[in-house]
């Protein structure tokens, strides 16, 4: 079984109009830059994107918004993006805002074979509208469901050709759960090595969850808030 593809264009084959995609990253940290650029080129439309944030105007998922490729964003925070705001206010774009921990857990549940779970986050707020409420040990919880997605696209630091992945620093964020959750999971990595070169003790995502892997190029790794002491 060969999981290695040559580039992002090949990796995203099969992504069609109207599909649901998970995209890893927190802000612009740990986003699958190469795959996003390929998606922009592919002109796939009416996509539903599950990602903690929506990029900035000229980078990350913001590039897909510029191309009017996104029908709906499912995120926890979508600030810092004028085009996003414009499309939202004009009704071109739908948004579903979800508490960040719930977003992470809905990905994790999808990858763990768990259809739903109870969380206290959002109880008593508009997030709970229409959801089942249950009390456990005197505290109220709302039921949240695992996400369904067609593709998960993640970015790792190192990977081997079998699909094992290691993430770096806080670029890990949502990537490991999304890697587990995709119907098809695409991983782009900075360094692609042969099986055996990664220490099995240090692997974060086991290869079984990854379907396609490629070595990304020209990582920009933009910084949103460059702060120094």
């Amino acid at each position: 079984m060969n999981k290695v593809v040559q580039n992002a264009e090949e990796a995203i084959k099969g992504i069609k109009d109207g599909m649901t995609l998970m995209l890893g990253g927190f802000g612009l940290c740990g986003i699958p830059e190469n795959s996003i650029k390929a998606l922009v080129k592919s002109k796939a439309k009416n996509l539903i994107c599950i990602s903690n944030n929506a990029g900035v105007d000229d980078f990350g998922i913001g590039l897909m918004l510029q191309g009017k490729q996104v029908k709906k964003m499912i995120s926890s925070y979508v600030g810092e993006n004028e085009e996003f705001e414009r499309q939202l206010l004009s009704g071109e774009l739908e948004v579903e805002l979800i508490p960040q921990g719930t977003l992470a857990e809905r990905c994790r549940a999808a990858g763990a074979g768990i259809p739903a779970f109870y969380t206290p986050a959002g109880y008593g707020t508009e997030v709970a509208e229409g959801k089942e409420v249950r009390e456990f040990n005197g505290k109220k919880y709302i039921m949240e469901r695992a996400f369904d997605s067609d593709f998960a696209i993640v970015k790792a630091w190192k990977g081997d050709t079998d699909g094992n992945l290691i993430f770096k620093a806080t670029a890990r964020n949502f990537n490991p759960m999304m890697a587990m959750a995709g119907e098809i999971t695409i991983a782009e990595v900075e360094e692609l090595v042969e099986p055996g070169e990664l220490n099995p003790n240090e692997i974060h995502t086991p290869s079984i969850f990854v379907n396609r892997i490629f070595k990304g190029v020209n990582y920009e790794k933009r910084i949103e808030q460059r702060t120094t002491r």
Binding site: P120, Y123, G124
Partner: protein
């Protein structure tokens, strides 16, 4: 009155040795600057870092190492990275000892609103709803009144709620308040502020008992 820095400094007095602490964006972030000497406090950043260090020097900037405010940061000896599900597992299971966050409104039941203003572009709740639903100990840092001069310590919230019955303490530019079953219990006054000033600026049930000490801050 307390400045933003002084609010942060007063909140820092609530820290205890060994605490794991999550600091929100704005005034709460400043609390990290006032951890008392010799005290070990570990900062949790919900994007996946426990043991957050200070901002980096220019030469040490790493785009893969940021905090939940998307600012570049550093690690410390003992720091650890993890995924977002693990991060919120720490939060939901009550292992974070203290959460400090900002608010637009708080009511005298300890409900908080800090994520959405109807009619304005909604950016999202980020991790705020998870934090307020589970944290054992939440301190709100905010101005006592809004820009129009209206109280932010209310009987009933006017804005969409973020979490119910979760805020235990509020530190504002005017005073320190504990939230109990009786409402807003006035505990300390900022220098130059009277009980009457607080009363005028507080819409919710205010409880004033005995002599209220003045916050000692340089």
């Amino acid at each position: 009155m307390l400045s933003k820095l002084q609010i942060a400094r007063r909140i820092a007095e609530e820290l205890k040795d060994g605490y794991y602490v999550n600091l929100g964006i704005g005034i709460p972030t400043l609390v990290a600057n006032y951890v008392p000497k010799g005290m070990e406090v570990t900062l949790q950043s919900e994007n996946g870092l426990l043991g957050m260090g200070p901002f980096p020097k220019e030469a040490d900037i790493d785009a893969d190492l940021i905090n939940a405010g998307k600012q570049t940061v550093t690690t410390l000896p003992g720091s650890v990275f993890f995924d977002s599900a693990t991060s919120f597992a720490m939060i939901r299971s009550g292992r974070v000892d203290l959460t400090v966050l900002g608010a637009m409104e708080v009511n005298d039941l300890g409900d908080i609103a800090n994520w959405k203003i109807p009619g304005k572009m909604v950016k999202g709740m980020g991790g705020a709803m998870d934090l307020v639903a589970s944290a054992q100990n939440i301190i709100v840092a905010m101005q006592h009144t809004n820009r129009a001069g209206a109280s932010k310590l209310l009987k009933e919230l006017s804005l969409p709620v973020t979490g119910l019955g979760c805020v235990k303490k509020v530190v504002t530019n005017l005073c320190v308040i504990d939230i109990t079953e009786r409402g807003f219990e006035l505990k300390e006054l900022a220098p130059g502020i009277t009980v009457e000033d607080v009363r005028n600026a507080t819409e919710g049930r205010l409880v004033v008992e005995g002599d209220i000490p003045t916050i000692q801050i340089s």
